[in-house]
C-alpha cells in the first residue's frame, strides 16, 4: 500500500452508485404488456418512451408504472423489427433521460444497467467490454456501435437504459441483440430509428430485387475487361416488377461496382443501398458476357406498402 494517492473510499463510491441509480430511476417506466414480469422503458423525448419491441407483446394502449409509482397509460406508436425498437406515447411523463457524454462508453467504462420490472428499480453493475461494429439484423441492416457488456442480465434488463457513471443514458439494453448476453443499442441508432418511425411510420429499407452470390472472375476475363480486381456478385435471380428488372439487370450478370464502390460481398450491396434514400438512383457497373455495362437503378422503399 505504498501509494501516495488517497485510498479509495468504498462508502463514497457506494453512495455515488446508489445516487446514480436513483437519478436514472426518474426516467424509467415499467411497461405491463406481457405475461408475468413487466418490462422496462426509457422516457426518451417529451412524451415518448422507447423500449425493446420483443418485451412489449401488445399493441394499442398498454398500462405503465411511472417513476413516481403511479399507474399510467401509454400507446404503442410504431416498431422497428430490425433493431427491436418500439416507441410509445404517454401522458404526464416526467422529463426525458439526459444523454451520457461520448467518453463515458469506452471499453472498460463503469456502467449500470437499470430496469423497472415492476414498481421498484433494479440494477446490475459492470463494464463495457466491447463495441460491435457491423452487426447485421436478420434482414441485413448494418448497425454499428452496439456495446457488449460485462454485467448480469436479469428480468427487465431489455428495454431499460445503460447508465453512465454521471447518470446519463448510453443506450437501450437488449439481450436479444447478442444471443441472450448483455448488449446495448447506442443512442445515435435509436434517435435515427425514432426520427424515421415518427416521420414515415417505418424505417426505410431501399430495395433492388436481386439475389446475388460472390464470385471470382477468371484472370483471362479480368485481363480482357481490364478490371482492377477479380471480385463481383453474380445475379442468381431477378424478381418481377422490381427496380432491378426495370433497369434491365439479367440473371448471370456479374455486378462489379455501385456508385463507384466495389462489390465483393452481398453486404456491400446492402450497405450501398442503405446509404441511399429510396428513390435516389445509383449507377451499377456490371460484366455481361464479354462486355462491361453501366445501368442506372432506382431502389424503392421495401418497408413502405405504397411502393410494393
Amino acid at each position: 500500500m505504498a501509494s501516495n494517492t488517497a485510498p479509495l473510499s468504498l462508502t463514497d463510491l457506494s453512495s455515488q452508485l446508489a445516487s446514480t441509480v436513483a437519478r436514472a430511476s426518474e426516467y424509467i417506466v415499467a411497461i405491463r404488456a406481457r405475461r408475468r414480469i413487466p418490462s422496462s422503458g426509457i422516457i426518451w423525448r417529451d412524451g415518448l418512451i422507447v423500449s425493446a419491441s420483443h418485451t412489449v407483446r401488445r399493441d394499442g394502449q398498454v398500462a405503465i408504472t411511472l417513476p413516481s409509482g403511479e399507474a399510467g397509460n401509454a400507446t404503442v406508436v410504431a416498431r422497428d423489427p430490425e433493431t427491436d425498437v418500439v416507441i410509445l406515447r404517454g401522458d404526464g411523463l416526467p422529463a426525458p433521460a439526459p444523454r451520457a457524454q461520448s467518453n463515458e462508453s469506452s471499453i472498460g467504462s463503469l456502467v449500470l444497467a437499470v430496469g423497472r420490472p415492476g414498481r421498484t428499480t433494479t440494477a446490475s453493475f459492470g463494464i463495457v467490454s466491447a463495441e460491435i461494429n457491423g452487426w447485421r439484423s436478420q434482414q441485413g441492416r448494418r448497425v454499428d456501435g452496439i456495446l457488449r457488456l460485462d454485467l448480469s442480465v436479469y428480468d427487465g434488463f431489455s428495454g431499460g437504459p445503460l447508465v453512465s457513471a454521471s447518470g446519463g443514458v448510453i443506450g437501450l439494453n437488449n439481450s436479444a441483440l447478442a444471443g441472450g448476453s448483455a448488449a446495448t443499442l447506442p443512442t445515435s441508432v435509436i434517435d435515427s430509428v425514432i426520427d424515421q418511425l415518427l416521420s414515415r411510420g417505418h424505417v426505410s429499407r431501399p430495395y433492388l430485387g436481386v439475389a446475388v452470390h460472390p464470385v471470382t472472375l477468371s484472370s483471362s476475363t479480368v485481363g480482357q475487361l481490364k478490371l482492377d480486381r477479380p471480385d463481383g456478385l453474380i445475379v442468381l435471380s431477378v424478381t418481377n416488377d422490381t427496380p432491378a428488372e426495370k433497369a434491365g439487370i439479367l440473371v448471370g450478370d456479374v455486378l462489379l461496382e455501385i456508385g463507384g464502390a466495389p462489390l465483393t460481398k452481398p453486404a456491400d450491396l446492402f450497405d450501398a443501398l442503405l446509404a441511399r434514400t429510396a428513390g435516389e438512383s445509383a449507377s451499377i457497373r456490371l460484366a455481361r458476357g464479354g462486355d462491361l455495362k453501366t445501368l442506372n437503378v432506382t431502389p424503392i422503399d421495401r418497408n413502405s406498402g405504397a411502393d410494393r
Partner: protein, 196 residues
C-alpha cells in the same frame, strides 16, 4: 435488533480494511467433503451458516486460521436455510447489522467466502433489489454479484462493513441472501432456547 452486539466504530472504508474485517468473521464449515462459509457471531461462541451446509444430527468441522475443530450443531431452521453451531471460545469482531429496508439499489455490496473451494475470496457487486414479504418486511436481499458454491453461509456486507445478510443461493446469476435482521432473530431464538 443489534442489542446483543455492541456497536463498533465504522471500519475505515477501504478495500483492505474491509478484507481485514471479513477475514476475522468468516470461517470454513466442512461437512462430508463439502465446504461452506460461516460467520463468527461476535463474542457469542456461535457460528452461523446455511442449513444446507450441515446435516442434522451431525457435528460439522470448523476451520479457522488457527486450525480445525469440531463444532456442535445447536439448531437448524430448514425453512430459513439457517443453522447455528456452538464453538465455545471462538470469538470475532463485533458485528454491525444493517436493516435491508434501508438499502438503496445500486450501492456496493461485498461477499466473502470460499467459492469452489478457494479460501477467503472477496467478490464485489451491487444491490439489485430487495424482495419483500407481503407485510413489507425484507424477505431476500438480491445482489448482482458473482457467487459460487462455497459462498453459502458467508456474509454479504455493505461498503462500510455492516452485515446485510447471509448468502443463501444463486438464482439466474444473481446472489440471494437472507437478511441480517432475520438471522439475528434466529440467533436470539437459539440463545433463548439454550438459556432456558
Amino acid at each position: 435488533m443489534t442489542s446483543i452486539l455492541s456497536p463498533e466504530s465504522p471500519a475505515d472504508a477501504t478495500p483492505s480494511a474491509l478484507v481485514d474485517l471479513l477475514s476475522k468473521w468468516v470461517i470454513e464449515v466442512r461437512h462430508r467433503g463439502s465446504t461452506g462459509a460461516g460467520i463468527v457471531w461476535g463474542k457469542s461462541g456461535i457460528v452461523l451458516t446455511n442449513a444446507h451446509c450441515v446435516r442434522e444430527g451431525e457435528d460439522p468441522q470448523i476451520v479457522t486460521a488457527l486450525g480445525t475443530r469440531r463444532g456442535r450443531l445447536l439448531a437448524v431452521a430448514r425453512d430459513q436455510d439457517l443453522a447455528a453451531i456452538s464453538v465455545p471460545g471462538l470469538e470475532g469482531p463485533s458485528l454491525r447489522l444493517r436493516d435491508a429496508s434501508a438499502l438503496e439499489t445500486g450501492e456496493l455490496l461485498f461477499a466473502y467466502g470460499h467459492p469452489l473451494g478457494v479460501s477467503d475470496a472477496l467478490s464485489m457487486g451491487v444491490l439489485h433489489t430487495v424482495v419483500r414479504h407481503r407485510n413489507g418486511e425484507p424477505k431476500f436481499v438480491v445482489a448482482d454479484i458473482r457467487l459460487a458454491p462455497g459462498n453459502s453461509g458467508g456474509p454479504l456486507v455493505d461498503a462500510d462493513g455492516q452485515l446485510i445478510g447471509i448468502n443463501h443461493m444463486v438464482v439466474n446469476g444473481l446472489g440471494v441472501a437472507i437478511p441480517a435482521t432475520a438471522v439475528a432473530q434466529f440467533v436470539d431464538r437459539v440463545r433463548t432456547a439454550r438459556a432456558a
